[in-house]
């Protein structure tokens, strides 16, 4: 009997989580060392790779893999977006402490806007990966 051609949804989700973690870590490192342009370029690359990989592979997922993905986007992506917005609101209400320390290097207004947009997207990607892995862990 030949093996199933369907993609293993669990490996797919764990691989996605590892890639997201590495990408976000590299970006945080570049931001820490005051390299905003490089960090934004890496963010754009990571998001492009993550989205293109997801769309390319999702057709090979079976119904369990798609159920995990649906759960992950709804609860992980949506939940991360809600939490990030809430955290941002609290941070701004507190007077945005340590902002100069967090934003090392010289940032143009366009780079700051891009950082905010990519930051939200990165949070959603991480939330997606975490929720997807948890979905599969609960069904081992």
């Amino acid at each position: 009997m030949t093996a199933s051609k369907r993609l293993d949804g669990r490996t797919y989700m764990i691989g996605f989580a590892v890639m997201a973690l590495v990408g976000v870590s590299v970006i945080k490192g570049l931001l820490f060392f005051g390299q905003p342009a490089a960090a934004l370029a890496v963010m754009a690359t990571v998001l492009a790779v993550a989205l293109s990989t997801t769309f390319a592979l999702r057709g090979r997922l079976d119904e369990t893999g798609r159920a995990a993905e649906q759960f992950a986007w709804y609860w992980g992506g949506g939940g991360a977006l809600a939490l990030t917005l809430a955290a941002l609101g609290l941070y701004m209400a507190a007077g945005a402490p340590w902002l100069a320390l967090a934003l090392r290097g010289s940032w143009s207004p366009v780079e700051l806007i891009a950082l905010g947009a990519f930051g939200m997207a990165a949070a959603q990607v991480m939330g997606f990966a975490l929720a997807g892995v948890l979905w599969w862990q609960a069904r081992r």
Partner: protein, 62 residues
């Protein structure tokens, strides 16, 4: 949802990978269904039913 998938598979001496290939799903899906941690969709339940030549209610119970 409880089911007899593991027993039926064992009777035919199929591995989870064998059953997964016959149903066009991943092995992890077969495992999740067998352990009752995932309820298959109606189309998949019909495929399982057709594969084993048994009515759905003889394989799955609420």
């Amino acid at each position: 949802m409880k089911n007899r998938l593991k027993v039926l598979r064992a009777e035919r001496d199929w591995s989870q990978a064998d059953l997964a290939a016959r149903l066009d799903v991943s092995r992890q899906s077969v495992n999740a269904i067998e352990t009752g941690k995932y309820d298959p969709s109606l189309p998949l339940a019909f495929r399982i039913s057709a594969l084993f030549g048994m009515p759905i209610e003889a394989i799955f119970e609420a």
